[in-house]
C-alpha cells in the first residue's frame, strides 16, 4: 500500500484486510471501500466502458459512481455491477472487473473505440433496421453479446433477502450536517425519528472534507451527535440505507445493505427493502459534484474534486500530484484543502479570468484542460491558458463543474425543479412532495453553517406543523463561505469529451442528436442513451442538457430536465421480492388429513392455496391412470372417501338470511325447508356465472352455503359487497367457517353402510333422504351430515370440528378399505364429475352464462337476483352462444384434451371456423371411453352430430360425437337411491 498517507483517514489501521481483484491479492483496512483500497494500492484502472471499452477508473466516492462497476464473487455466485465506491472492504472480498475480455489491461472489444465514428448516437436505430428478418437472427444476438454490463452466474440466487416495514413521525434522509441537525432537533423534541443514510458511517461531508464544527473536527462532532441520537429511544439510525423512492401518502422505499459488507454474514440477509411510512420527511441528501467535459476526461485518474478530498481525508489515500480543474469557489477551496493536507497540487485551472492567483500552488486563470495523457492511467494534463498549452505532470486530475443539489426524490411524484442561474443548478420548488421539506445543500445551501442552520430550522418547522413543541437549539459555529460559479460545461478543443461515462455519451453525441432533430431533452436522452445507465446520469445529466441547450440555443431553463423516477440507486429484484420465495410466495394450506394422505404415498396437487391428493397409489400400479381408474371404479361399485374440506363454507344467519340468499343466488333459497339442501348458482351482476355450490338450511334463520375451493374468497367479497351496498340494514350476518370444519365425502353404493359405521344414530333412505342435512353425532363428536353428491353415486358428506379431522379420515379410510373401497383423489374426483356432467371452474370460467351451461331454468322468474337483468339481455342467450355439451370420441380409446378447439369435420382449423372448445377431458373406466365436456356453438341443438376436436399443441385430431353432458346415470337413480 504505497499510496497511503501515514496516519491520515478514518480507516482502522489495526485491522488490515486481504482482498483480491482480478486474481491479484491486495491489502486494505477496515473502513475502506473497495475503491479506496484499490486506489491505496495504486490501482487506477478498474473497468472498461460500456460501448467503446475504454479503460476507466474511479470517478466518485459515492453511490453515483458511473465507472467503477465490478463483479463480486462469492463461491459460485456473482453479483455484477457492484459500485466499488459503495462496496465496503472485508477480509476475503473477491472481485473481478467486468466488461472486458480477455483481461482488463488488454480488451479485444476496445477495437470499438477505433470505430467510434460509426458507433455514435442513434447507431443501433440507424444500423439494425433492415432487412427486417435480420433482427431476430443476427442483430439482436450480436447486440446482446456485445452489450450489457457484467454477467450473472446463471445459478439460483441462494442469498437471503428481507423486507420490512417502519413507521415514524419524521424521516430524515441523509445524515450530513443538515440531516444530523434535523434529526437532533426532532429527536430532542420527542418525535419518532428515522435517520437514514446510505453510507456505512454517518456524517456525510463532515467525514470527507472535514470542516470544523463547534471547534471540533467534522468527524468528531458527527460522532458526538450520533452518540446522542443513538441514546434516544425515539430515534432509529439506519446506516447503509438508501431511500430509493417516494410514493403517495408519505410512503418511502429504502434499500438497506445488511450483510454485504461482512466476510461471514451468517443468517443475516444480504439486503433489506424497507417500506417506511412517515408523517413528514426532511430531505437532507446534500449535493453531487459534476465533472467538466473536456477531451479524454475519462482517463483513469480523472476524478471529481470532492472525491479526491474524500479519498485523502477519509481514507488516507495519496493521490500523487493533483491538477484541479474547476469553475467555482468550491474547486479552489478543494485545491487549498488538499494543499493543507500535504497533497502536492500541480496546478489549479479555472476558466474564470478573475480567479485569485495568490495561492500556494500555480493558478491558471482563464485556463482550460484540453487533454490528458497516459495509456491506462493519467500521467499528464494539457492545460491551455493565456500563454499557450502547458503539459502538467499529474497522477490525478480533480474536476469540479459545480454542484447539483440531490433533489431526485422530490421529483418522484411528478414535480419539476427550477433552474437557479446563480447556482447554475436545478433546485427544488416548494411543495413538490406533500409533507417533505428539503434542507441544506439539497436546496442549494452549500456552506456548513448554512446546512446546520437549515437542518435545524426546517426540523423546527416540521415539528410545529405536527404540533410538537421543540426546544431552541444553539447552532454550532462552522465555515460559512460563499459559493460563486461561472457556468462552464464543456471544453471546445476537438476530440471526444465525455458526459455520461457509464454509457459512453460524448458532447458530440448530444450535439448530433440536436442536429438530427432530437432536440427535446427526453428525445435526446433516448437517442443518445444519456443517463440511462445504472447511475442514471447523476453526474452527467445537467451538463448534457446544458450542451443540448447550447446546441438548440434554447437555454437550460427552457430545455428542462429529464424525469427522475425511483429508484434513486439500483435495487436488486431479490430485495424487492424478498419474502416471496417458497412458502413466502403463497401460504400452503394443509388439510387435516394431510399427514395421513402423504403417508399413503399420494402425490399432492395445488388447488388454490390448498394441497390435495392427486391419487392414492397402491402396490402394482405403475401409472397414475391405473390408480385413477381403480379409484373411479371403487366409487362406482363400492365406496370412496375424499377430503372435501377445501370447499368454502359460509355460515349465514339472521331473520333476513333467506331474503339475502334469494338475492345472491339465481334460484329460490327462501323456500328450502330446514333440514334440506339445495344446489345454487350465483351470477355476477354482468350476467355471467360467478360460482356454484350448495345451500343447506340448518335452521329457520341459519344457513350454511358452500363455494368452490378457488372462489371462496371472491364469493365472500361479493356477498360483503351486495350486503353493504344494497341491504346493509337487513338482519343478516355471515362469516367463513371453512377452517372450522373438516368435511369428507363418502360416495358409492356402499356409502350409507359406511356412514352408519360412524353415526350414533344410523340413517336410512327415508329418515335422511337425498339433499337432507342436519346435526349428527359422529364417533361421539357433535358434527353435521349432508346427503349430497358430486360423483353421481349415493353420497354423504360428514363434517366434524377440524381437530377431529385427522382421526375421522383415518377411521373412514380404514372402514372403506374393509368394504372394498378406499380413499380417492382429485384425478378420480374429476373423472367422476365429468362422467356425471357436473361443472367446475374449468367450465364456469368467467365467460359463460347460466344459459350456456343449460341452467337458465334456475334463474327464478319470481324474484330479483344479482345478475338477473343482465343475464337476459340480448346476446347472452340464444343459438349463437357456445353451449355446454358432452363429447365422446368415435374411437373410444382416442385421447381427448382440454384446451382443444372444435371444428366442423372438413373445415380447416382457423379462427373463423371455430365452433367451440373443450374444457375438461378424462378417461372413463365406467364407460370404457374417453369423455370430454366443452362448449359448442348452438350445442344443445347439435346432439348426435360429429365434430372434430383439434388440439394444435399436441397435433391431435379426433372425431367426436356431440352428446348430452351427463354421460352416466342420466336419470339420477343412483344419486337418489
Amino acid at each position: 500500500m504505497t499510496h497511503r498517507i501515514p496516519g491520515k483517514g478514518l480507516i482502522d489501521r489495526t485491522r488490515p484486510l486481504r482482498f483480491s481483484f482480478d486474481g491479484r491479492e491486495f491489502e486494505g483496512f477496515q473502513g475502506d471501500t473497495l475503491a479506496s483500497a484499490l486506489l491505496a494500492n495504486g490501482v487506477q484502472l478498474v473497468g472498461r466502458s460500456f460501448k467503446y471499452h475504454r479503460p476507466r477508473g474511479v470517478l466518485t466516492a459515492g453511490s453515483e459512481e458511473p465507472n467503477a462497476l465490478v463483479e463480486v464473487i462469492e463461491g459460485k455466485q456473482k453479483t455484477p455491477n457492484v459500485r466499488a465506491t459503495v462496496q465496503e472492504l472485508y477480509g476475503g472480498l473477491t472481485v473481478q472487473s467486468q466488461n472486458r475480455w480477455p483481461s482488463l489491461r488488454f480488451d479485444v472489444m476496445a477495437v470499438n473505440d477505433r470505430f467510434a465514428p460509426f458507433l455514435s448516437a442513434g447507431f443501433y436505430y440507424k444500423t439494425f433496421m433492415w432487412p427486417r428478418a435480420f433482427w431476430e437472427k443476427v442483430y439482436e444476438p450480436a447486440i446482446r453479446r456485445a452489450a450489457g454490463l457484467g454477467a450473472l452466474s446463471g445459478l439460483h440466487d441462494e442469498g437471503r433477502y428481507e423486507k420490512a416495514f417502519a413507521f415514524c413521525d419524521v424521516l430524515v434522509i441523509g445524515a450530513g450536517p443538515t440531516g444530523l441537525m434535523a434529526a437532533l432537533v426532532a429527536g430532542r423534541a420527542g418525535a419518532d425519528v428515522i435517520l437514514a443514510d446510505e453510507d456505512a458511517r454517518m456524517g456525510g461531508r463532515l467525514l470527507s472534507d472535514q470542516p470544523e464544527v463547534a471547534g471540533q473536527s467534522g468527524p468528531d462532532w458527527a460522532a458526538d451527535m450520533l452518540a446522542e441520537l443513538a441514546a434516544m429511544p425515539n430515534v432509529r439510525l439506519m446506516t447503509r440505507t438508501t431511500v430509493t423512492g417516494v410514493y403517495d401518502g408519505g410512503t418511502f422505499g429504502a434499500l438497506q445493505r445488511v450483510g454485504l459488507h461482512l466476510a461471514d454474514p451468517g443468517d443475516l440477509p444480504r439486503e433489506c427493502f424497507w417500506r417506511i411510512v412517515a408523517k413528514r420527511a426532511v430531505l437532507a441528501t446534500g449535493a453531487l459534484e459534476r465533472p467538466i467535459a473536456h477531451p479524454d476526461n475519462d482517463r483513469p485518474g480523472v476524478m471529481l474534486a470532492s472525491a479526491v478530498q474524500s479519498y485523502v481525508a477519509r481514507y488516507g489515500v495519496n493521490p500523487g500530484r493533483v491538477v484541479v480543474f474547476g469553475n467555482n469557489d468550491s474547486a479552489l477551496q478543494a485545491a487549498r484543502d488538499l494543499t493543507a493536507q500535504g497533497v502536492q497540487v500541480a496546478g489549479y485551472v479555472d476558466p474564470r479570468a478573475d480567479v485569485s492567483v495568490l495561492e500556494e500552488f500555480p493558478v491558471y486563470p482563464g485556463g482550460q484542460v484540453v487533454g490528458t495523457r497516459g495509456r491506462l492511467g493519467l500521467r499528464e494534463v494539457a492545460v491551455r491558458h493565456g500563454g499557450g498549452v502547458s503539459m502538467l505532470t499529474a497522477e490525478t486530475l480533480a474536476l469540479s463543474g459545480g454542484w447539483n443539489p440531490s433533489l431526485h426524490l422530490t421529483c418522484h411524484l411528478g414535480g419539476r425543479p427550477d433552474w437557479d442561474e446563480r447556482l447554475a443548478a436545478f433546485v427544488p420548488r416548494a411543495g413538490m412532495v406533500a409533507g417533505m421539506s428539503v434542507a441544506g445543500a439539497a436546496r442549494g445551501r452549500f456552506s456548513t453553517a448554512a446546512c446546520l442552520a437549515d437542518g435545524a430550522a426546517l426540523a423546527a418547522e416540521v415539528l410545529a406543523d405536527m404540533g410538537i413543541a421543540g426546544h431552541d437549539m444553539p447552532l454550532p459555529a462552522a465555515e460559512d463561505r460563499s459559493y460563486a460559479i461561472a457556468p462552464f460545461w464543456a471544453v471546445d478543443a476537438g476530440g471526444r469529451a465525455w458526459l455520461d461515462f457509464a454509457n459512453d455519451v460524448t458532447t458530440k453525441d448530444v450535439q448530433q442528436a440536436a442536429q438530427e432533430g432530437f432536440s427535446s431533452v427526453e428525445h435526446m436522452k433516448r437517442y443518445t442513451t444519456q443517463g440511462m445507465a445504472p447511475d442514471q446520469g447523476k453526474s452527467s445529466n445537467v451538463a448534457a442538457l446544458a450542451v443540448l441547450a447550447d446546441a438548440t440555443g434554447q437555454g437550460i431553463s427552457a430545455t428542462g430536465t429529464t424525469t427522475f423516477r425511483p429508484p434513486y440507486t439500483p435495487v436488486s429484484i431479490a430485495a424487492m421480492g424478498a419474502g416471496g420465495r417458497g412458502m413466502g410466495f403463497a401460504p400452503e394450506r394443509l388439510l387435516t388429513s394431510d399427514s395421513q394422505t402423504r403417508a399413503m404415498g399420494a402425490p399432492m396437487i395445488e388447488a388454490g392455496l390448498w394441497y390435495r391428493p392427486s391419487y392414492f397409489p397402491r402396490a402394482g400400479e405403475a401409472t397414475w391412470r391405473e390408480a385413477c381408474d381403480r379409484e373411479v371404479s371403487m366409487v362406482r361399485t363400492a365406496v370412496g372417501v375424499c377430503d372435501v374440506s377445501t370447499l368454502g363454507k359460509i355460515d349465514v344467519q339472521g331473520p333476513d338470511a333467506d331474503r339475502f340468499l334469494d338475492l345472491i343466488y339465481t334460484n329460490m333459497m327462501s323456500s328450502i325447508k330446514p333440514g334440506r339442501t339445495r344446489y345454487g348458482l350465483m351470477l355476477r351482476e354482468d350476467g355471467h356465472v360467478m360460482d356454484d355450490g350448495t345451500c343447506a338450511r340448518l335452521g329457520e334463520a341459519h344457513f350454511l352455503i358452500t363455494t368452490t375451493t378457488a372462489a371462496a374468497g371472491p364469493v365472500m367479497r361479493h356477498m360483503d359487497f351486495v350486503h353493504q351496498a344494497f341491504c346493509g340494514d337487513w338482519a343478516v350476518r355471515f362469516t367463513s367457517v371453512t377452517e372450522q370444519w373438516a368435511q369428507f365425502a363418502l360416495a358409492g353404493p356402499k356409502a350409507r353402510e359406511l356412514v352408519n359405521k360412524l353415526l350414533e344414530t344410523p340413517v336410512d333412505a327415508e329418515n335422511f333422504p337425498f339433499m337432507a342435512c342436519g346435526p349428527a353425532r359422529i364417533l361421539g363428536v357433535e358434527g353435521r351430515l349432508f346427503r349430497i353428491s358430486f360423483s353421481g353415486e349415493m353420497g354423504y358428506e360428514i363434517a366434524v370440528p377440524a381437530r377431529f379431522g385427522a382421526a375421522v379420515f383415518e377411521r373412514l379410510v380404514a372402514e372403506a378399505e374393509a368394504m372394498g373401497g378406499g380413499a380417492y383423489g382429485m384425478e378420480a374426483l374429476n373423472v367422476l364429475r365429468i362422467e356425471k356432467g357436473f361443472i367446475t371452474h374449468a367450465e364456469i370460467h368467467g365467460r359463460v352464462t347460466a344459459f350456456d351451461i343449460g341452467m337458465q331454468g334456475m334463474v327464478s322468474a319470481k324474484k330479483d337476483c344479482i345478475g338477473k337483468s343482465a343475464s337476459q339481455r340480448p346476446g347472452l342467450m340464444g343459438p349463437e352462444r357456445e353451449q355446454l355439451v358432452g363429447l365422446v370420441p368415435v374411437d373410444p380409446q382416442a385421447e381427448l384434451s382440454a384446451g382443444a378447439h372444435l371444428y366442423n369435420e372438413n373445415d380447416p382449423a382457423t379462427r373463423v371456423n371455430n365452433q367451440g372448445y373443450v374444457t375438461s377431458a378424462g378417461y372413463s373406466p365406467t364407460l370404457q371411453s374417453w369423455l370430454a365436456l366443452g362448449f359448442l356453438r348452438d350445442g344443445r341443438a347439435r346432439h348426435g352430430q360429429i365434430i372434430r376436436l383439434d388440439d394444435g399443441l399436441r397435433g391431435r385430431k379426433v372425431a367426436c360425437k356431440v352428446v348430452h353432458p351427463v354421460f352416466h346415470d342420466p336419470e339420477g337413480g343412483k344419486l337418489r337411491g
Binding site: G249, A434, M716, F721, Q724, A725, F726, A870
Partner: protein, 82 residues
C-alpha cells in the same frame, strides 16, 4: 398510496382489492330499461381530477368508497358504503 379504512385506519393500498367506480352502488331496478343497466354496468367516466371508487379492505371485510384525485393522487375521503 394509503387509504384510511373506516374500521382499521390508514393502511397501504396493497391491503385493498379494487372493484370499480362508485356507480356500482346505484343499482337500477330489475325492470329498468336496458340502457339503465348498460349505464350501470359498463359506462364510466374517466375524469382527470376527482373520482370516487370502491375498494374492499380484505383484512376486515369493509367496502370503502374512496374519493380521490387522479391527477394529484390525493385521497380526499374514504367512507364505508354501509
Amino acid at each position: 398510496m394509503r387509504i384510511s379504512c373506516p374500521c382499521c385506519g390508514p393502511r397501504d393500498r396493497r391491503e385493498f382489492t379494487y372493484y370499480g367506480a362508485a356507480d356500482y352502488l346505484n343499482r337500477p331496478a330489475l325492470d329498468a330499461d336496458a340502457s339503465a343497466w348498460d349505464d350501470y354496468l359498463h359506462l364510466r367516466d374517466n375524469p382527470a381530477g376527482e373520482t370516487r371508487d370502491l375498494w374492499y379492505h380484505d383484512p376486515c371485510g369493509t367496502w370503502v368508497a374512496v374519493t380521490r384525485d387522479t391527477v394529484t393522487h390525493a385521497v380526499i375521503a374514504a367512507e364505508a358504503v354501509a
